[in-house]
Amino acid sequence: MEIPGAFLLTGGALLALSVTLLALLWLEWRRRRRAERSTAEMQSQLQTVTATMREGVIAYDMERNLSFINPAFERLTGYPADDLREQEFLHHIHHEDRPAILAEWDRLGQGGALRDQEYRVITRAGQVRWCSSSWEPMRDESGRQIGYLGTEFDITERKLGEEAMRLDTELFQAVLELQQAVSAAGLDSETVMRVIAERIQTLTGASGAVIEALDGEDLVPTVHVGTDAPRLKLNASLSGLCVRSGELQRCDDTLADTRNPHEPYRQLGIRSILVVPLKDEHRTLGVLKVVSPEAHAFTDRDVKALRLLGGLMGAALSNAASFEGRQNRLEDRTRALQDSEQRFKQLVDVAQEGIWVADDRGIITYVNKRLADLLGYGNGSLLGRPVYDFIEAESRSGAQRTLSRKASPGHNQDLRFRRRDGTQLWGLVSSSPILGKDGALVGTVGMVTDITERKRAEDQLRRSADRLAMLHDMDQAILAARSPAEIGRAAMGRIRRMVPSQRCTVTLFDFARGEAELIAGYKGGVQMGAVPLPLGEFSPAAVLQRGSMRYLEDLTAMEDLPPILRHLRAEGLRSVLSVPLLVDGEVIGEINIGSSTPSAYEPEHRDIASEVATPLAIAIQHARLRQELARQTGELERKLGERSAALRAATAEIETLLYSVSHDLRAPLRHLIGFSRMLLDDHGRDLEPGALHYAERINQAAGSMATLVDDLIGLSRIGRRDLLRRAVGLTTLVEDVVDRLRSTTDGRVIDWQIEELPTVECDPALTTIAITHLLANAVKFTRPRERATIRVRPVEVDGQAGLQVEDNGVGFKMAYVGKLFGMFQRLHRPDEFEGNGAGLAVVQRIALLHGGRVWAESEPDAGARFYLTLGSREAGKRVGGEAGKGDIEETQQTNSGDDARG
């Protein structure tokens, strides 16, 4: 599009320039004319000058005859000069514009000038061209006007540009109007389309405009103005092609178009069609079409207009559609919301919970049916009243805190409500604040669940739990073996919590002695100490011993009370519950509970009291029995201790005696042996056989006594010190003993078979002694055998380790086995075998000290088996032996490394 402003300016400038130039030329011409005084010269000069000008120059005389034309003018009009001369005045000018020029011509005739007259010229070829002309009167030297000179400037392009611009402006205007209309139409698609269709029709000068919407395979006319609009097929129409290609389609003559049959349009007499697709962001919605019965009716300008409006419409429609969509959705949602509200209301109404809604002051604005029922009011009477009105006084502060709280919704609370009839309702209230847009509290919604029953059940449960706990306490007390007083205190503590009482006591009766003792109790919350009371203060013994519960509802209403009850009455107690403590049907005491309220004790309290009484009685009885037992046990232990001490002392004495006697016997024995020997040695020859015989007997006897005394000393030594326990390898020990016995076995054939023996924890010295005795015996009693076999084997019996000594000696009868280990008991005559029977006694003593045993098996002439065990294998244990005090010499022995025990 040309810029008309610049164009104008340039045109104007050029024009002005050319006019000026002309004027100058004319002046020059006038000068020359003066000089030459020739019209022809003038004309030819004029011709020369104007021959090369682009502008058309024309001159008329006063008679309106053409007097001069330049070639440019000829070109401009398309007529040769001659034709123009023959033409009518202003014939070349468009008939519509002539009047205007003519009107101005008069001025020219009066010597005025015309400037920038614009008019159309019809060229010989029939073309319309725009000209801008300026006219000047022509004068001779005298100044007499002789004609008019005009220059014509072809401004067709400029005009067309202006026209185009005007059209664009029109279009732009139309678009604006359209948008306004669209806005005014309120985005109603139908109206928008209609508006667009009308506008485009106007803009393009079409006979009709149609908007077709794509519907599957068809294009359906949604809006049409000025023409019928048939339904078209997507693949059989220009519209269809437009949609498919997404491009503007143009048909300048339906009759001549080979692309499409254009059947319906032909029938409608439509010759020109312009169609443009309507798109939104994603797809083609339809088409905008203009039609005309004239062929080639639509210009590029129309195309432009159509494109513009088509695009605009596409966007508008899209918006409209989505708006409509939104609108629909909004409607749907609103409907849904309304439905939901309705349902909610229904739900709320039939909910199990009571629901209220209150404003920020706590005034009820809504209650559901349930809440109304719960509180015993009709629906209406609750509205407008504060919630607190229905909440019991003690719950109110808690409620207020909750209901004015903005934070933490969903806070649960137990509140007590008052019904219309005055009864109470326990409600579990869950309330949430309702907050406004700015976060301010605008109200609350509360949900109330009836928990009256639950509360009752909870109370019940708690009471039951308490009762159980109390019984458990009683049992614990029994197990803990406390004194009766402690048990009583525990029971009273529990009772106080569960049964109303200003005073509760446990009293034990001793009917035999006519005494009673209050062992525990509480008076006004303070513990009472144990107090002995005479039985006479109580109800008569007969009553007490009946063993039944007694409930006195009001002391003040009774006469003839026993002293104790009189005291209680004086203290202000009114009702008393007495529960006997029974053990095996015998009354051992009672619990007394007193209250300052008359008839204070419900059946439940009585149940609780008797529930306590049973285990309490048992517990007290147990405690007493235990005490008795402890006492007796103590007594026994004391006696036992005394006896043990006495026993130990006696044993010690005996041992000491034994030792000292044995010791003291040694010297005279030595003498006896010595002198009898000397007698025999020195004077045996001189003695008569009888005397000799006696001397020999004396000597023999002395020798026996020596052996005896040695054994006694050995025996007495055994218990005198503590038993050492050390790991002793028995094999080695036995071998040592065998070695030591060799001197007694000289000349004999003895087959020693010593097996691997265990290592035992024992006293090495004592064990050596024991084994020595056993082996010495084996050696002795196998003497008659040509080949003696003595075998030593390990044994383990009852967890005790030890050994067995088996010989092939003379053996003994098992009938005498009991005597075997007796002190000084012998199973053989002195002429059979020497010995005094102390050896095995010693072995037994040693075995017993170790916690072991010694026993034997034998058959006459079939050898014997002796078993010795030395206690269980426990490491590092020192067993205090029955240590005697030792002989006088050894009493000073305190630091020898052994503890002085015993």
Partner: protein, 162 residues
Amino acid sequence: MTALPTRLPAYPPTTDVLLVEDNPLDAELALRPLRELSPGSIIEVARDGEEALDFLLGRGGWRHRLGAPLPRLVLLDLTLPRLDGMEVLRGVRANARTRLTPVVVLTSSTDPRQLSQCYQAGANSCIQKPVGYDEFWAAIQTVGRYWLVFNQSPPAAAPPVT
């Protein structure tokens, strides 16, 4: 019982053995093996502790022994009336003159404490008196043989300055 050569001291006849024993029977029993061992030995018997010390230290009834050579062996029974064997032993060891004299203690007891005391008091040896006759005989003779024949007696101490 072979008689071994006895060495006679270079001095004038001197007591070889002092037997301190209160019991005459024990004394008699002890003398026989000693005499059999060394028939030429001079054996003196003290009947109690005081007498023993008087003899050794040259005082009391034995004043005239003051300065006399000491016995080559003292056989000391512990159980003595009045002044007992331990006291005698201590007394002997306390005196400069008799300090080195060999003393063999004869006892019936096997009490380790008593044994320890004896040695601490300065006994050269402790023998338990066996009950059996043969054993007793052997014990006495062994002791005698050892101390009188094998042992080198300590040189006689300088006579005390009186």
